[in-house]
């Protein structure tokens, strides 16, 4: 880890500003699945960093490529995949703007390296030929050349380059073949003068007919060149990928495999991640304890232990789950399975007005809505994308689990239906299903009202299956978790400190002991706020102490547990299995002696947590992704309203039916 951090730090200053030496900027473009990311990883190794493009929400991956020993390494920008310069999705728009030098505050690239999949020449050359026609310096990297060598396909790269007027370098990124030749080709391209960028986009054309004819002409040109320089494969015979698809997208096996894959992912996230999670939890509580014993008691120590350490620990505790989820998503994406999942589920998604491409973001959201919402960028239609973002938080994410676990441990533990099925497991399953059902209904309504749009086209490449590369998976894990830690981490840390302050002020005076801690909470700003909202939440079965928990959980759901621990003064042990908190909840009495917490209260609270948008990180990411405060504000409002109504119905309805 520290070695990686060092490498990253080492590359963070822009080399063009260090020592004034001119360093080249190289844009790496290509169709989706053309092997661009593998090439990028091979060129830059660990000298990468992830940052946001200025002014937009998509993160840019850039890295350093040592072109020649005597010159400073070039900066390579890995662009999102695109099929043409006529962009249809947000990802593609960003890539196009950078390629054409239209991105504000980003210099026009000196050289564009286009990754062209050698096994799919004609279609890949469409983008390459558009880029060549813009008049910029272009070098073509002919990727996956090992596959060409293994197949019957024969490509004369030199002749292809002559016909196109640019260098064409066959590469095998994984085996680092052809990388030196690629450097030389880039350096050679730099000797050519470059004119102003010519616009070649079809959107320049006056009408659809002339757009079509221009596009057909370009394809005819490419087909002529390819037939002169390559011997085509026989596409009448099903290839290897298609044979795999006979099983993977089979009428019966397909859905079964999809279910098994989802089950495996969930199993991993929910049970195998527990060990590292509790380990992190223990490390941080031990750290807090040792700080408390070694520093004098006081406000600074409180801030450190309850604010900073608890906040950082709270974020890091989610890292194992997020890493595991990303590990699976990377493997599923890299292998080509994700596109099949979208293929299998499109018909179902369409029933609620969504797109097969919404499946992956929604699946991700079961771990955490933040990466799920980030994954909606591949959805071309903006209204579909917003609808997917709006329902993503209904997928019951991992932050709700501690709440479910606590409630079940307190009120439903040991209960069985029919002697074998545990009530707790049924309730958790019910929560997941309820979340999905609400999401379906909300999407259905939104797509018919505020996000009304004609059914979007579903045109999606099914990339050839390939063995996921461990290097690519590791790179993607590293960059995605860094983004998560930076985005979610900073917000949650800030909120934890703020919350700590709300609970710690105004000071009650006396030095903190267990008893006075509860008094401190009662009189703090948070305690007063809890009492203020008590009339509003009483119909849901909640008292002011739960109110404090609700308020604090608007930062992040899981904070309710540590808040309840403080309110019920069971110490700082925020472990969900802590029997002390469970006992405290069971024994809590109202003024009239009736218990505060009943199974019905627990159920009402779980439903509230399922439906309310209590997550600052989600709000922050929606703000970034939709580029406005309107959508996040709308999301928080409607989800809160929904949560209130549902909890109200649960609690009051339960009472009417005679439950308690």
């Amino acid at each position: 880890m520290s070695a990686i951090a060092k490498t990253l730090n080492h590359c963070s200053p822009d080399p063009s500003q260090v020592g004034g030496a001119h360093s080249l900027t190289i844009a790496l473009a290509g169709n989706p699945n053309a092997g661009k990311t593998s090439l990028f990883n091979s060129l830059t190794g660990l000298r990468q960093k992830v940052a946001n493009y200025p002014g937009v929400t998509v993160e840019s991956k850039s890295g350093l490529w040592p072109l020649a020993p005597q010159m400073p390494p070039a900066r390579v920008i890995d662009l999102p995949g695109l099929y043409s310069l006529d962009a249809t999705s947000l990802d593609e728009e960003i890539a196009r703007d950078i390629l054409l030098g239209r991105a504000a505050s980003l210099a026009t690239p000196d050289v564009i390296v286009v990754a062209v999949d050698a096994t799919n020449l004609v279609r890949n050359l469409y983008l390459a030929s558009q880029l060549i026609d813009t008049g910029q310096r272009v070098v073509i990297a002919l990727t996956m050349f090992d596959r060409v060598e293994r197949s019957k396909l024969i490509i004369d790269a030199k002749k292809l380059g002559e016909a196109l007027g640019v260098a064409v370098v066959p590469v095998v990124a994984k085996r680092r073949r052809g990388l030196a030749e690629l450097s030389q080709a880039v350096l050679a391209a730099m000797t050519q003068p470059v004119a102003a960028i010519r616009s070649v986009e079809l959107s320049q054309e006056p009408d659809q007919a002339s757009r079509h004819s221009k596009l057909i002409k370009r394809y005819a040109f490419i087909e002529r060149i390819v037939s002169d320089t390559a011997e085509s494969v026989d596409h009448e015979r099903p290839n290897f990928s298609e044979k795999i698809d006979r099983v993977v997208t089979h009428r019966i096996f397909g859905p079964v495999i999809l279910l098994l894959v989802m089950l495996l992912v969930f199993q991993t996230i929910f049970s195998w991640a527990n060990l590292p999670m509790s380990l992190i939890d223990q490390v941080f509580s031990a750290l807090a304890d040792s700080v408390r014993t070694h520093l004098p008691a006081g406000m600074l120590t409180d801030l450190l232990t309850d604010g900073v350490i608890a906040g950082v620990g709270g974020v890091l505790a989610f890292l194992p789950q997020i890493l595991m989820l990303f590990f699976f998503i990377s493997i599923l994406e890299d292998s080509g399975y994700m596109a099949r999942a979208a293929f299998l589920t499109d018909r179902i998604m369409r029933a609620v007005g969504l797109h097969g491409k919404a499946f992956v973001p929604l699946l991700s959201s079961f771990a955490c809505a933040v990466p799920g919402i980030m994954a909606t960028r591949t959805i071309e239609n903006p209204k579909d994308r917003i609808a997917t973002i709006m329902i993503a938080p209904f997928m019951s994410c991992s932050a709700r689990l501690p709440v479910y676990t606590l409630m079940i441990a307190a009120f439903f533990s040991g209960q069985k239906v029919l002697g074998v099925i545990s009530v707790g497991a049924l309730i958790i399953l019910g929560m997941y299903l309820l979340g999905i059902a609400v999401a379906v209904v909300v999407a259905w309504i939104m797509k018919r009202t505020i996000l009304k749009a004609p059914a979007p086209p579903f045109v999606m490449e099914l990339p050839a299956y390939r063995m996921p590369s461990l290097g690519n998976v590791a790179h993607s894990l590293f960059s995605r978790s860094t983004v998560f830690l930076k985005r979610a981490g900073t917000v949650i840390l800030a909120i934890s400190i703020l919350l700590w302050a709300l609970v710690a002020f105004p000071r009650a005076g006396s030095p903190p002991s267990q008893g006075s801690r509860a008094l401190q909470v009662q009189n703090s700003f948070a305690g007063r706020a809890g009492r203020l909202i008590e009339p509003a939440i009483r119909p849901l079965g909640f008292d002011w102490k739960i109110g404090i928990g609700l308020i604090s959980s608007f930062a992040a759901r899981e904070t309710i547990i540590s808040t309840l621990s403080i309110v019920y003064s069971v110490g700082d042990d925020s472990d969900t299995n802590s029997s002390s908190l469970v006992d405290a909840l069971k024994n809590a009495k109202r003024a009239d002696g009736s218990p505060v917490w009943t199974p019905l209260t627990g159920l009402s609270l779980m439903i509230f947590f399922l439906l309310a948008c209590q997550c600052m990180s989600t709000v922050a990411i929606v703000r970034r992704e939709t580029n406005s405060w309107r959508w996040p504000a709308f999301m928080v409002t409607y989800m809160l309203a929904l949560a209130y109504v549902a909890s109200f119905i649960t609690y009051q309805g339960g009472h009417l039916l005679g439950f308690s």
Binding site: Y126, H212, H235, E236, P238, F343, R347, A455, F458, E461
Partner: protein, 80 residues
């Protein structure tokens, strides 16, 4: 005949793509232009979308989109 009507594993060739909708450009950019060889591989378990092989790669599209693609069948039809 349009692409949605082509039986499985029969080679066909694109003759035209309807210029009506915006998505026709996306289809054409992806190589579905007049003259391109296409073959329907299968339909998804629920009947839609369909999986086709265009040129040297595989593409999924809905029947609604496939309707906008006109094709002619090859003379040497069945590959098996």
């Amino acid at each position: 005949m349009t692409l949605d009507m082509v039986p499985k594993n029969v080679m066909a060739r694109v003759t035209s793509v309807a210029a009506t909708d915006a998505h026709s450009l996306r289809l054409m950019e992806m190589g579905v232009v007049p003259g391109a060889p296409v073959r329907v591989v299968k339909a998804a378990p629920l009947g839609d979308p369909i999986h086709v092989c265009v040129r040297d790669y595989h593409l999924a599209l809905r029947r609604a989109e496939a309707k906008s693609i006109t094709v002619t069948l090859h003379d040497s039809s069945d590959p098996d």
